[in-house]
């Protein structure tokens, strides 16, 4: 049992170390995305394929929203009135739709990597 706990904590530490190692200090392209009245704006975002980037998501609503992309799987809660920097992985050319899970009828947008 103790060995099991040790294994788990080692895995957790490794995960943290890995994250620290993959957070490069140099600036990546930042793209602003706003949530207002349960909609994203802009609803079409063009990015360069093959390069990681940062989505700076500002939630101007009084309710939280969850950025929810199916593929690649990315979920991120943006609390009401907060701004979150969401690091996005390098994407292959293509369309990547996402929704605001908490208001998925209205909050829909697409990232186009080209």
């Amino acid at each position: 049992m103790r060995r099991f706990a040790l294994l788990l904590s080692t895995a957790a530490v490794a995960l943290l170390a890995l994250t620290a190692a993959t957070s490069p200090a140099h600036a990546q392209t930042e793209i602003a995305l706003t949530i207002e009245k349960n909609r994203f704006s802009p609803e079409e975002i063009k990015v360069k394929a093959g390069a990681p980037f940062v989505l700076v998501i500002a939630n101007k609503d009084k309710t939280p929203e969850e950025f929810d992309m199916q593929q690649p799987r990315i979920e991120k809660v943006i609390p009401a009135g907060k701004t979150v920097r969401l690091r996005m992985p390098a994407l292959k050319p293509g369309k990547y739709p996402f929704v605001g899970e908490y208001h998925s009828e209205t909050a829909k947008a697409t990232i186009i990597a080209e």
Binding site: L8, T22, T63, K82, R85, L86
Partner: protein, 286 residues
């Protein structure tokens, strides 16, 4: 209202399945008096969820950008580990029971087993708990109109339905014979954990810790992840309409590894009383 119902149903379903598993497990080993371990674990999970939900509102900068994701990823893999461990224990237990040494085993193992049951309940609730809390909170802060209140009602009904579903599934389990219950639950836990594991790997891809790969297939035309059935199967067996190669690979790898760990004995030499059978002799039936 329908939309908020589906969101909370999906978020709470896995938690209720996991709680259902551990409650029924305790029922099965005649340790109902130990339910409180699960209840306390679940309540602590709920408290932690509310805590994180509140904390997220105060966090900013890198703490808000990465903190919750790292916690979420860690909790997923922790849950996979715990569930696998639990399934393995149940297998051992089931075999021991066949050997009719149930009482001895129970007494010896009860004390060291229960903290893990409590932990499983905690992790099960905490995993999607903070998101559900934030979501419901958001709904309530908007509930000034009648449609707002309908949304709140939908959200609460979603949590309630998830709880009822989890309860129903494992209530059915109580009627099964003990060995069959253990077998069925072990397989269910394996599928549940495989789904969690593959979901965790998908999150690592999303965090940029693993390369992004194309979806292996796309069955969203047939069954979307966001539909009620799709989310139900997603929570139960890890269904994904568009799994990445890493997600599908992780799912398959987990099933093979856990299958070997949990059912490997079935393919080894015949086993009686938990020990390899000696050269065969006629066995007296009782």
């Amino acid at each position: 209202m329908g939309a908020t119902f589906v969101v909370t149903l999906r978020e709470a379903f896995e938690a209720s399945l996991i709680l259902g598993i551990v409650y029924t497990y305790l029922d099965k080993i005649h340790a109902r008096d130990q339910y409180r371990y699960v209840t306390v674990g679940g309540l602590l999970g709920l408290l932690a969820s509310v805590g994180l939900g509140i904390a997220v509102g105060f966090l900013s900068g890198p703490l808000l950008d990465l903190g919750p994701d790292l916690i979420a990823a860690a909790v997923i893999f922790f849950a996979v580990g715990l569930l696998t461990w639990h399934a393995w224990w149940m297998q051992q237990h089931a075999r021991a029971i066949k050997g009719q040494v149930q009482h001895r085993i129970d007494e010896a193992r009860r004390m060291q087993r229960l903290w893990i049951v409590a932990l499983i309940a905690f992790v099960g609730v905490f995993r999607e708990g903070a998101e559900t809390v934030l979501f419901l909170w958001g709904l309530m802060s908007q509930a000034t109109s009648s449609s707002g209140w309908a949304n709140v009602a939908g959200g609460v009904a979603g949590v309630g339905s998830a709880a009822a579903l989890g309860w129903a599934i494992f209530r059915g389990g109580v009627r099964l014979s003990l060995p069959r219950f253990f077998a069925v639950t072990t397989v269910l836990i394996m599928l549940l954990a495989a789904g969690l594991f593959s979901g965790g790997v998908g999150r690592l891809q999303g965090l940029g810790l693993l390369p992004v790969t194309d979806p292996l297939w796309d069955t969203s035309w047939l069954l979307s992840d966001r539909s009620v059935v799709g989310s139900f199967l997603g929570g139960l067996v890890g269904y994904r309409a568009q799994p990445s190669a890493f997600e599908a690979g992780a799912y398959a790898m987990y099933l093979v590894a856990a299958g070997f760990l949990l059912f490997g004995h079935l393919f080894a030499a015949p086993i009686t009383n938990g020990e390899p059978a000696a050269p065969r002799e006629p066995v007296a039936r009782d």
